[in-house]
Amino acid sequence: MNELSRAQIRDLMAQVLKNQDKELPADDAAQLREIGFRSLDFSELALRVEDETGEELNFDAPGLRRIATVGDVLDFLVDLQHQ
């Protein structure tokens, strides 16, 4: 499986935000609510990762609800690629 690194996922996340004229902070502790990164943005990011890796990333909602920071997003998607 062609796995993306945390840095590569961060780049994709920055692109998702840039398309909405938003900026991804350098700090992983930045709150998603403050930067305006919503659940469908997460969905878009996950699908972009899928496009890069060629593997479907399916997941349940409870894990998604625990995500609050940029770091949480990156951790979640890095872990998801291992499942």
Partner: protein, 251 residues
């Protein structure tokens, strides 16, 4: 085919089959029907100690079995066992279902298929099986489909689940027409329970639903069982309907 209406009343159900009767609402329905003097057959994938206890307490009026609702052959065997032990089935409660907790775009295709098989295909097959037995014996009977407010209102994370529940509501109406008054067919659509499948919504969404509910609380199984019992036991002329039990949250 246009035919005159069948004006004979459908008697109260005396032997009721409950799918998914081992816990939650299903177990509450089994308990309530037993309290009302009904003979009850209940199956579920796993028989819980609570259901076992009911079977031990009412050996002449309860028959339980470990059956996966999607296993039609096992369901057929169970129905035959029930008829031998309790008598012909003249009521069915389609309660067995599986929940969902994932955005549609990120739900595995196998999971979508499994939800549809469990929540829509299996109850339609089980209903077909039981109504064939009833029709062949010249029986009149009652069918209650446990659906959900999700069949009428939209909630994120429950796309396939909602589709199955809306599908069962639609089937309820057509079946009521098709069975021409020989069987009464209705749905009971609870709002979200505080436990079990409602866990899929998360505390924030559940809090929002409670705030929007005029009665100020989520639905409890004990608030649904009297409605199911009424549809199985009372003379009401209610047929082909979906009765929502949600404290007016969805209005």
């Amino acid at each position: 085919m246009s035919e005159p209406a069948d004006t004979q009343l459908v008697p109260p159900s005396s032997v009721v089959l409950v799918s998914g009767g081992s816990r939650g609402l299903g177990l509450a329905i089994v308990t309530d029907l037993l309290d009302a003097g009904v003979r009850v057959a209940a199956f579920a994938r796993t028989i819980t100690p609570e259901l076992e206890k009911l079977a031990a307490e009412h050996p002449d009026r309860v028959h339980v079995g470990s059956v996966d609702v999607t296993d039609l052959r096992a369901a057929q065997s169970f129905v035959r066992e029930v008829e031998q032990r309790l008598g012909p089935i003249d009521g069915i409660v389609n309660n067995a279902a599986m929940g969902q907790d994932s955005l549609h775009a990120h739900t595995a295709t196998d999971d979508i298929a499994r939800i549809i098989e469990t929540n829509l295909t299996a109850p339609l097959q089980l209903t077909r099986l039981v109504i064939r037995r009833m029709l062949a014996k010249g029986l009149r009977g009652r069918i209650v489909n446990i659906t959900s407010i999700c069949g009428q209102r939209g909630f994120p994370g429950l796309v396939a689940y909602s589709a199955t529940k809306g599908g069962m509501d639609a089937a309820t109406r057509s079946l009521a027409r098709e069975l021409g008054g020989r069987m009464l067919v209705n749905s009971v659509a609870p709002g979200f329970f505080a436990s079990e499948m409602s866990a899929v919504l998360g505390p924030t969404q559940l809090d929002q639903i409670v705030r929007r509910t005029p009665t100020g609380h989520l639905t409890e199984p004990e608030e649904v069982t009297p409605v199911v019992r009424m549809l199985l036991r009372e003379h009401t002329n209610i047929n082909g309907q979906v009765i929502v039990v949600d404290g007016a949250a969805a209005i």
